[in-house]
Amino acid sequence: MAKKSVWSDNRFWQRSAGWVTGFASMLLIWLTFDTIPQIMLGSDEDLQQGVTKRVPGPTVINYKITYEMDTKRGHEIPVIGGANAEGRSSFQEKETFFGRDDWSEEEAAGLLHLGKLGSQTKNCMNCHTLLGNGAYYAPDLTKAWLDPAWGPNGPMQAMTGKNTKEEAMAEFLQFPSQYPTHARMMPNLGITPEEAKGLVAFLKHMSSIDTNGFPRNFGKIEGAVHGK
């Protein structure tokens, strides 16, 4: 019989499997402890004191949000309340949301709660993608709030006959099949006016999350194809 080698020894491989798995698991847990605090919801105080959070507090709905190239990081980042000299969030410029720019922390959190719950109970994710995850039957919603189509000169806002982005989105969410844009339509999901408001707040909040530049060039390209 050939001399026994450690490389063909089951005990050796069993122990190696145990050590490798244990090491990988510990590293994952350690990284989780580092990541979770970084992605916790920020607060209204953060916004007022100009503290940038990867996931801002719900009162971010009181601010103007844009998505701008950050030359240092090499990709786009959400800019909240207008840009400072470095091109990052200055938290100065406000923007009304359903006629108000003074939603309290409690009210804004209530809207976000309703909207996030609605996004799950209405099953958004099984047609759309959120943060790029979900189904591919409808557009990605990560930065939907910033989509030029819903802006002042956009076709979606014009179609609903509303004067603001949030009202146009809320109207569409409640009566989607009245505003068909393509043969592929969004079905009526029984969304109430209050739920629609919450869902729009959820979308506005999601657009303020720092997604490391995903999606790239969102809403920046004009006239790229057929001069549209």
Binding site: T35, G115, T121, L130, Y136, P139, H182, T192, N212
Partner: protein
Amino acid sequence: MVNSHLKYESKQLATWYFTFAAIIFGAQLLFGLVAATQYVMPGFLFEIVDFSVARMIHINALIVWMVFAMIGSVYWLLPDETGIETVGIGLGKVLFWAFAASIVVVVLVYLIVQVGPADETSLWLIHEGREYIEAPRWADIAIVVVVLGFIYNLYATGMKGNRSGIVTVLMADMLAFAGIYLAGMGYTDNISVDQFWWWWVIHLWVEATWEVFVGSLAAYGLITMIGAHRKVVEMWLWIEVAMLFGSGILGMGHHYFWIGTPEYWWEIGALFSALEPLPLVAMFIHVLYDWGKMQGEESAKGLETSVIANKPAFTWFVLNAIGNFLGAGVWGFFHTFPQVNLYTHGTQFTSAHGHLAFFGAYATLLIGMFYLAVQGKNGIKIMNATKKSIWATSMIFGGVLGMTAALTLSGYVQVLVSRAQWGATWEGYFAGQASIWFTQGMDWRLIMGVVTFLGFFVLIADLLSIGKATHHKR
């Protein structure tokens, strides 16, 4: 059961699990066809069974039939590995009915109620609206109870009987499999935190614990079907466990590129997920190598016959080695680097990978287990393929490959048009969807989906009739 050759009740119970799994497999394909049809004809069942409902049932049925078939596989192999009857068979039977009944109720609610108001009650009773683990919370709890009962049976049997390497791996793996599910049961208003934990379930299932499960099952198959040497097979299994968990656990980073999590996940995700195909290559080589080796030993003895004791099952096991490597390995590697994923994330590219990976890595092997059960139940020593087995295998494997090719091309168009040219907006999305190359891909996907579905019926017909065929060695 009359005329059954099964000596162990554990194996009898396994056939229940396999039967229910096969039915749910059919439901998965049916609702997949509905969703695929809606891409081609958007008005199909609009506001009756919308895409979101069809797709939810399609992917939930996928998870459920695989979990059923996995539990069934463990009940099947336990007596062979431990040498004793499984402990807690009565409990296993009760849990089977509880699980099956829960699934039926969940699916009926998906179909009939579909959506609820934006409140916690909807999450408890209707669904949680989170891809793959949509099951409402009451069902979450039921699933945990059922799986804990199953794990009790596995542990009690493993500790009482002979605890082989395969059983040891399964015991550790199934505990992790169940524990990880708990990470996906909570609710939070913060979508970044939500998706962080959601991936703990999805990724650590399909790219870690399920892969190890497949490794164990492949090891069992090689021993029972071609008489591979246990010591060698189990050594390979431990190496695979090290490689799968070593790459797969931190490979989770590739889901943390864009959900709000810090940039360091780019490097961690890229590095470890790039290693993920390695164990799949190893598993592929392992299966083919052992096959050649055992056949060679047989030839050396002057025997001309095939070494394989169950031809159709072994075919599916070999297809597993190929499909896992192609679907999970190659198609996963395509878009695992953040530089590529920035543009491919959330396109039909992902869908192409999803189809071939779930099928290649899991469906193939579990179908192989169905054939092993048919062989055991009919007391067949060497089971040969029938015309139907060959047709079913070709149609299903060819159909899924065809769907994958079509989705890949559609995904390519989507990446270039919607993402690169248009910058991912609403208008850009529909510009991509309207591209003739995209729509042709969707047509072909539907055609190949129909081929797969027809193949499924041939498969069922074969599973029901192959045991009675006369060309087997009994």
